[in-house]
Symmetry: C2
Subunit: 250 residues, 2 copies
């Protein structure tokens, strides 16, 4: 009864992945990486309620995927399950944590303090998931120098120095679309290698930089497409056997 699919989202360069030799985890598929974060959240939740072991079936349900997919995903990390029993919650949690590189408590810069930027600054999920906002940056002289959540708002002109001294690798970009590329370029020059872009623009970056985009308007438009399709279908099909209460205008 419960339909579920999953997330996959990517930008950036990952050319010659396989055969990295040194590190153990070789070439985990992109789609799997995206789901590991979901599994991790489910596992942490279970750990908190005292669940010690979990089967692929129940973890899959919690994560909204099917169990074969989950097992295949986990198999890329190694063999951490016990046949006939399931997975040890804390062991698996640690493994995913490590695989995602969350042991490092990464420094994140928040660029752009509009409404969205402020909302993100207050987002508790940052700290609780291994990320630490180390710098907040804006271009508006009226707010540069004020403090947000204990951090001073710094000027975008000082980006280079900020990124270097705080050793920031990840930036969250919530600036207006018109200046996003320019700010992005500065970030890249300063040494940032991962960008989470909320501005509705396609960013051009060199191959060694990863960009992930969160695009509200696009998401809505995708929903709109499916909605449109659904209503079109409802019009021509006989009755639609489902039971859901529909709101049909007069």
């Amino acid at each position: 009864m419960i339909a579920q699919r999953d997330q996959l989202n990517a930008v950036g360069g990952h050319a010659d992945e396989r055969s990295v030799a040194g590190t153990d985890q070789r070439s985990i598929p992109e789609a799997t990486v995206a789901r590991l974060a979901i599994y991790l959240r489910a596992l942490v939740g279970m750990g908190k309620v005292g669940v010690a072991t979990v089967s692929s079936g129940s973890l899959a349900t919690a994560a909204g995927v099917n169990s074969a997919k989950l097992r295949k995903d986990l198999s890329y990390l190694g063999s951490y399950g016990i046949r006939g029993v399931g997975y040890d919650v804390s062991l698996l949690t640690d493994q995913i944590h490590k695989t995602l590189g969350l042991h490092q408590n990464r420094a994140v810069a928040l660029i752009g303090l509009g409404h969205l930027g402020r909302a993100l600054a207050g987002y508790a999920g940052f700290a609780s998931r291994g990320f630490r906002i180390s710098a907040i940056v804006d271009a508006d002289p009226a707010i540069v120098g004020t403090r947000v959540r204990g951090l001073p708002v710094q000027h975008v002109d000082d980006l280079d120095a900020i990124v270097r001294t705080e050793n920031i690798a990840i930036a969250v970009l919530t600036v207006p679309a018109g200046v996003a590329q320019e700010v992005c370029d500065r970030l890249v020059v300063a040494g940032v290698t991962s960008i989470l872009n909320f501005a509705p623009t396609v960013l051009a970056v060199p191959a060694h930089v990863d960009v992930r985009k969160v695009d509200l308007a696009a998401e809505l438009q995708i929903l709109s497409f499916h909605d449109n399709r659904k209503s079109a279908r409802a019009d021509c099909e006989p009755a639609r056997s489902g039971s859901s209460t529909m709101a049909v205008g007069p």
Copy 2:
């Protein structure tokens, strides 16, 4: 020099798509739909600056995809290009607009007025892209009754009536994770068929409802993974021919 990839993100039920007979657009791949929104934005931008026709190559660059992919994507809509010339910007804009179902100016409900909810309420991209916030809902009695952007904040207990009278099909969910499923259930009962979920939870919904998820923590973790991989590689590889100035802590 410019690496780019694209977005794909999905949840929800799309079982028996092909052979819908009535509607013309038969079975556009999910990945294509997700990109149409990007193309649309690029096209609108070009239209505003007075560009009349565009080749697949330049539109592809603007959208950050390769041109073969773009042409294949557009071919699902029909044959709107002219060989040797390119695409008429306004014609193509209209076609994508129509395909995405944006001609309808859909009513959207915003559920949850925390920091993020407020930020989204103020987001101009809504209106300019064919969406209209028709209702704002929260559970906190202290803010129910106040006005945000001209709209009264209504109580979540009245969801059912609100959705029906405003004929809302799309809801944006920015409530705390703990209550997301409950609110989601109410929305579904009321007749909402598309949900954009910002709460860090997997929502269980019946098959006829689409859910798309925006998950900040997951995005950061995915970036973290790649970043981790990058530094691991930098450690064992000889020199890395690139020129970017790296900030390496002492």
